[in-house]
Symmetry: none
Subunit: 413 residues, 2 copies
């Protein structure tokens, strides 16, 4: 079964938006074992849409179309589909009901512009959208099934998982059973991960690498005649990955680093407080993205100025003057200070130069110190020299801070 | 003249690599005023390549193909082109010469596998590659010109600029000149923006909508016989957008909301400090993403616990007990408190319930208060009721906080 993914929108053609939906769908479907044979992108143009629907119908068995279902004049998918199929549109009562209910909750009425979204091509099957406003729909024509989904990534993904993937699986009952896992590592470059895993390949297991900023993710897929067979293969393979990569693996379940840290803090019944300078709140933001983080995250201080470091965190001004704000003694004092004022079990202090300004020959842009204080063990710190843009330096600093907390909780440091 | 961009490679279809070449070419060509009408991606498969060359020939006037020119077995472009055109291959002497010279410099000899790269389809015109190994080529068939370029981004871009763009311009001596702008709005849903702009369309101006989370972005493109004409049309159109959307427009230059806020603070020579609860540092993170923000951003307090709100920010415990931590008096006191301890001109306080836990019947998940204190004007606050996931509630809260700062600096509140 050949699949075509058709993404639409002027903003894609003009390069203003990156086509994340195609990338996600290509990855997801390929790893499930489907044959994603064609991908087409076109702008908001009715005639062109019509012509690519036709091309797709003639070469693919399933076509997934995204975008153009919104309420504005450049949302042309429904009209183009009607033209292509030579049918009119009809009101989808369940779609209108869902939209009315959704709008009622936020105190709005369904406007005339929104009404256009619930008139779907005659003969189509509505795909209700529980994650946003625009309903989707599917249509079967000459043995090719078309799925029309909204372009908003969150809605697109949810509807792929709820409707499209199950239906594609139904149409392929004899496909091998497969098992997927997302292993994430931090602390090694891709080439070293690949070296450590050299020769690990085996039959019925696929391994794909992807650099996700400074994390290296390993997409693992195993297949067999039954789920049990695929699962057993997977377990064995993950054991071998653990044996080779050790502490660099932070999850085999696809979790974010901050979730792993949160689970470890909860498990150890410990609390955390942060004192950030160059990361400007990003560490706290990442930590507090995790639901329930208020049980272990007590407070954060973003001490951008030296005055804040001294007055709020109690870092002695002499220490800042003699070593500089970006130094091991200062981040250790920041970690101790925030632990003390918040009465937390663990404190972390970060100071560095994120750039593009502020660098000196001794401490160039990218110089970062991270300090960690967990009471009885005393304070420790590490010095880093990062490269990249301001946002990249902030992000890599936060990843290292999270990993220092993780390694400390695992007693690796 | 309709252009098709055809990117090839299994790594694109399986989502392992993001298609940066298409995004770059789409943006570059659109900006120059070309009509990028189709984009296709396919994997390394000779038959499929042949079929999409044919589809492209029938619908486009110029086709830019990237990838598949390397020396390995999965590089199939030359073979697929020969099949498609039904011609053999012939040695390109200039390409061989350049490759030999390139390899000589790094002490290597041209190997048999590399030789395959310099045998090009008969009748094609070589496009010498000064930036890498694989030569490109062009071919004209039935009034459609094909350009075949390497997939390595650096080489692709350089060869686009050296060969393809000049030739496309030659083929379009009378092309219109065009001007693009990215207008961003905040505070209105997409349907209301569309309603306010109803009927604004005019000749030679294209308007596209894009929902970027809760911001609505408007992509505007104008064209004329000269750049001056396109610019004048654009100015007039932007004036009309301003007249209709007023304070909801925060930039016509594509800036982020935090950049606009940073510019306004700098212009007014004012400083800012933040006290965040439910947003957990995201507001400070966004503000400090802007280079140079240390001149106006003094410090941030993430007071997740009531103790932090009281001890660090000086919010009276009685206030928290009588009104609750999520209330107008508390966020106003937080704003005042952080302004006072940091000695900044403006303080902002945020408290809310980001969920998924922590909601009550009186204050359900999504209830958020934002307070703003700018000294002489006194403290103000606003109450919000948001919907969405934890991360969405954090983000929409931050956007509203940034916009409150912006409106305050513009004296709109």
């Amino acid at each position: 079964m050949k699949i075509e993914i058709l993404t639409t929108g002027d903003e894609l053609m003009s390069g203003l938006t990156q086509d994340g939906n195609f990338q996600w769908a290509g990855e997801t479907l390929t790893w499930l074992g489907f044959d994603v044979a064609y991908h087409t992108t076109v702008g908001d143009n009715k005639e062109i849409l019509k012509s690519v629907f036709n091309t797709a119908k003639n070469r693919a068995d399933a076509v997934i179309v995204t975008g153009g279902l919104g309420p504005t004049p450049d949302d042309l998918t429904i009209e183009a589909v009607s033209n292509f199929l030579n049918v009119g549109v009809e009101l989808s009562e369940p779609a209108l009901e869902m939209m009315t209910e959704r709008f009622r909750k936020i105190g709005r009425k369904v406007s005339d512009t929104n009404m256009k979204q619930v008139y779907l091509p005659e003969g189509s099957k509505v795909l209700l959208n529980k994650w946003g406003t625009a309903p989707g729909f599917s249509y079967e024509v000459e043995n090719t099934v078309f799925f029309f989904l909204p372009g908003v990534p969150k809605e697109f993904r949810a509807m792929m998982e709820e409707y499209v993937i199950p239906e594609l699986k139904n149409k392929n009952p004899h496909m091998k059973k497969s098992c997927q896992r997302l292993v994430k590592t931090f602390g090694l470059p891709e080439s070293e991960v690949a070296q450590k895993l050299y020769g690990i390949e085996r039959a019925h297991v696929k391994l794909g690498y992807r650099a996700h900023f400074r994390e290296i993710h390993l997409r693992v897929s195993s297949s067999g005649d039954s789920f049990a067979e695929a699962d057993a293969l997977m377990d064995e393979f993950l054991k071998e990955i653990h044996a080779r990569l050790g502490k660099y693996v932070f999850t085999t379940e696809g979790e974010m680093l901050e979730e792993v840290v949160g689970n470890l803090l909860t498990l150890n019944n410990m609390t955390l407080a942060t004192a950030e300078s160059c990361t400007g709140g990003l560490l706290s933001h990442r930590i507090t993205n995790v639901p329930g983080s208020s049980t272990y995250f007590l407070e954060g201080i973003i001490s951008y100025s030296n005055e804040a470091k001294s007055q709020i965190l109690g870092v002695p001004m002499e220490l800042i003057e003699s070593h500089g704000a970006v130094s091991a003694p200062v981040v250790e004092a920041m970690a101790k200070g925030v632990r003390s004022i918040s009465d937390s079990d663990m404190g972390i202090g970060i100071s560095g130069i994120a750039g593009p300004g502020g660098g000196t020959p001794e401490k160039p842009v990218g110089t970062v110190f991270i300090g960690l204080d967990s009471g009885t063990k005393g304070a420790i710190s590490r010095e880093f020299h990062f490269h990249g843009t301001r946002e990249e330096i902030k992000l890599v600093t936060v990843l290292n801070a999270l990993d220092m907390i993780r390694q400390s909780l695992l007693n690796n440091v």
